[in-house]
């Protein structure tokens, strides 16, 4: 089906939901067909036809006086969440050259038998700050109007050299800082008594809309949420801080019908370069069962089918998830909207991330958690993914079996202990044809990963002070067409403290230390991170 011929279908869906909305709109507080008889009856009733009764005793207490704040009504409707962090990173070096034979020595222009001198690669310390600010109003000036603005700001406080181990995404922006308006919108909500507009919400500005895929846009979205259905239509200009895609127009809609209290059918669509269509069915059963199934298409190609069963009974002690996923084709791209969107991107003219699409596979998931008693909670999960075609096995996509077991124990009051074990076994990649070409990566990739982590926390002063310390140990088996590495260790410790100054502000301290297998980073001894943060909300 061509893109053009699909557009009328999406337009038809929008039209159908609009018609349903108008037809089933909740009337305003007055009935739709006021009867003069009733009006007359009330007229006579209120003109002394009924003897006045004694007021209810519940109405006797004096009303509490409403006192406006000295700053006016604004502060009553204003909210703000702020978090600012300072981060210091330390990287001690071993004195060995890097894997590319670079050594920490000044470049003199004279041949150095020890390696290639380039001292900027050995920057040992950097400083960085990060600030997040979310503010807005709820019901200010009008109970129908909300606003929400979110800014993120990050800045290098130290000049980071080109080859520094602390290079990050900030260093890809001018002046090594990033100021991002993450979201900024005005929302106008309908009140329950607004009849046709009851349950409606209009958002204008920078926003994220979730549906068939995430749509980040500057534009407008209109949502109508009713007991039997809800729908959202949106359109705008795609925004992103990380590229400058050629095509910007984006739009779509989410439509949901509810059948009874336990069943919904959903159709989500997004049009950006190609159309993405997602159909989803949800059905609740008995005591806490929820079944969900979905089917997704990109363009005219079916790409995904999923079926999930979640059991979460009301006692809150048990959780069970059974999931099946079938990747039907690789006609989509997992991170971005489409291949085409990326190809049109003039900022990234080179295809610098050759991860390929995810290939057709089947995946089963079992995830179980149970509160054994007041002190112990245990859980486990198993994920099995099997690529449907052996020739699809590659460096970024393979069959695997993933096991995870975890627990939470409360041995004493105000103390909790977390532990987790994780193991992933991938195909050993030895059964495929030996590589004959330089760029054949079919033998390359992780074959086994094991993680063990332990964390203990204790709260003090009625929970205002929380201290946590933990560690992890990671073991990695890896093979390349030239190398086989087994039991490569990676370990570290993490510690953090959080102190709640009052109900609105909190101080945080974090420390992290981790080391890696020296084959990968022979020059780096370890990496340490210290972070101080303050969070304040109003």
């Amino acid at each position: 089906m061509s893109n053009c011929s699909r557009l009328p279908v999406q337009a038809l869906a929008v039209a159908v939901f609009c018609v349903i909305t108008v037809a089933t709109a909740r009337p305003a507080s007055a009935p739709p067909n006021p009867s003069p008889d009733i009006g007359d009856a009330w007229d006579s009733l209120l003109n002394g036809a009924v003897p006045p009764s004694t007021p209810d005793s519940a109405l006797v207490p004096a009303q509490a006086n409403y006192e406006a704040s000295p700053a006016g009504d604004f502060l009553h409707h204003f909210f703000m969440n702020n978090r600012t962090e300072y981060m210091n990173t330390q990287t001690p070096f071993t004195g060995l050259p890097t894997l590319t034979s670079v050594i920490n020595a000044p470049a003199t222009g004279v041949f150095n038998p020890s390696g290639i001198p380039y001292s900027p690669a050995f920057q040992s310390s950097t400083n960085e700050m990060y600030s997040f600010l979310n503010w807005g109003t709820r019901g200010w000036l009008s109970g129908r109007v909300n606003s929400n603005f979110t800014f993120a700001y990050s800045q290098d406080l130290t000049h980071v050299t080109n080859a520094s181990p602390q290079l990050s995404i900030i260093d890809t922006f001018g002046s090594n800082r990033r100021l991002e308006l993450v979201s900024g919108y005005i929302e106008v909500d309908g009140r329950p008594s607004d009849g046709l507009l009851a349950g409606s919400s209009l958002r204008l500005g920078r926003q994220d809309v979730y549906g068939a895929e995430l749509a980040e846009m500057d534009g407008a979205s209109l949502t109508v949420n009713r007991p039997r259905y809800s729908w959202t239509i949106y359109a705008g200009r795609r925004f992103t801080y990380f590229s400058d895609p050629f095509e910007r127009a984006i739009g779509g809609g989410n439509f949901l019908l509810r059948f009874g209290k336990d069943s919904t059918i959903e159709y989500d669509t997004l049009y950006y370069v190609l159309g993405t269509n997602l159909f989803r069915f949800r059905q609740g059963f008995g005591d806490g069962w929820l079944f969900t199934s979905s089917f997704r298409m990109v363009g005219s190609a079916p790409t995904d089918f999923t079926a999930d069963g979640i059991w979460s009974p009301e006692d809150g002690k048990t959780s069970l998830r059974l999931s099946f996923e079938q990747k039907l084709s690789n006609k989509d791209y997992f991170y971005d909207y489409t291949y085409v969107a990326r190809d049109l991107d003039p900022y990234n003219p080179l295809l610098r991330l050759n991860l390929e699409a995810l290939h057709p596979h089947s995946q089963f998931v079992i995830d179980f958690s149970r509160l054994i008693n007041d002190r112990v909670r245990l859980g486990a999960s198993v994920v099995v993914r099997h690529l449907n075609h052996i020739q699809d096995v590659g460096p970024f996509d393979t069959s695997f079996q993933d096991y995870r077991a975890y627990g939470q124990v409360f041995p004493w009051k105000r103390v909790d202990l977390l532990f987790a074990y994780h193991e992933r076994d991938a195909d050993d990649r030895t059964t495929t044809t030996p590589p004959l070409q330089f760029d054949d990566l079919s033998h390359t990739g992780e074959t086994k990963v094991q993680d063990v982590s332990l964390e203990i926390g204790r709260s003090f002063i009625d929970g205002r002070l929380v201290l946590r310390v933990g560690g992890y140990y990671r073991n990695l088996d890896f093979r390349d067409q030239f190398t086989v590495i087994t039991n490569a260790p990676d370990k570290g410790v993490l510690a953090d403290a959080s102190f709640k100054l009052d109900s609105r502000s909190r101080l945080t301290f974090e420390y992290g230390l981790d080391t890696d297998y020296h084959v990968f980073e022979p020059d780096i001894e370890n990496s340490q991170m210290f972070r101080i943060g303050v969070a304040w909300s109003y």
Binding site: R26, G139, I169
Partner: protein
Amino acid sequence: MNLRRSFSAVLCLATLCLCATLKADGQQAGSGAAASSNPQKQAQPPFYLHEYHTKQVGLDCDACHVPEKQGSVVYQRPGHDQCTTCHDDDFNKEIKQQVCSQCHSTFPPTGSDDLLPFPRYKNVRPIVFDFSHAKHVDPHSRVDTRTGFRADCTFCHRFPADGAYASFGDHVVCAACHSKAGMKPLLSDKSTTADCLGCHQPEAIENPSAPPVHTQLASFIVSGKYDQIRFSHAEHFKTRDAYRLDCTTCHYGVAASTNLASLTLPKMVDCVNCHDVSKTIASYYRMSNCQVCHVDTPLGPLPGFHSAIVKPASHTEGFRLRHAQEASQPGAPCFVCHTSVQPTAVGQQQCADCHQVMMPVNHTARWKDDVHGKYAALDRTTCEVCHITDFCTRCHNQTPRSHFPLAQFEAGGHAQLAMVEERSCFTCHTFADTCSQCHSLNLK
């Protein structure tokens, strides 16, 4: 073989988990089952009092239901005087339990203390199923000067001293209009069977196989009480001026309701308009304090399992990755703990409110330098929860640390790195655009 072992492990794990759960749950269920397996009394065909007397015997309502006094619209409950008209022997010669049990909960009856409600719906109370608020509301929404609320609401519904529950109208209230000449149904001391049936359907109330609309009444309508909810109408009356409250602020659907089955209590999200929007509400009365309304929560402002340390049981490791289904459910209660999520909007459209502030704990300093690539190779689907491609390509388009100084790296410095992990090269480069300048494609 790996796959076969995995499936075996999956089945074993699933079996063990389910057995543990079923065993634990079965212990509780078993006790209930044992109790219910007591020898049952011999089954008797159901007897519906009103249906029998009106359809089998052909009595009119006024044969049993008589006014308290002449001219009154209040009818007294039928007593022995009415029954003995036909059942004299059953009362005065041989007392029959079947007859007594129609009105009394004990046998032999001890007095009026054990009288059952009549006609009884689910053994609780009489219900006027088809009462239409839409037909009874004042089209002009006039206000009662005594209460400041809509006159049509306060005319029928009153409140006891504690102010918790609204009362329901009785015959005295109905008679304010229905006793006027020409009204149908007419309520007077001379009402006929047709008048009674204009509001009451006692046969349907007593019969459990009545049409579905009669069996789907909300529990609070049946019981007249809230389930596990603490609420006071009187307390809300006190602040009605400050918040411009009226009955229909919360009960907005009532005015359009055509029968009791379509009545609903205000939902929790309806409370949000006041209890979360404006800070004029004291913090104790905010949505984050469950105890204000919910009586089934343990001590403390939040249930113990909602604290910062102890999360709900459903919030497993897998939940962190795959909670989209739950979060997008209508009425998802994420906002109770996640204060950045607004309860007024559809939860599904607020994912970014959490995901833009909650960085995973494993994203340490080394994560961005080295480790993230290995995990991305293992399963990219987890990255996609927060990142889209242009975030990744932004960094991957920069020259990495290992490539400095570039001239020496190109001249041969890259060899050892490529020998350890050639994949890292081909993450950004292809053989055609880079390697082919010096290397042959075929391995020798």
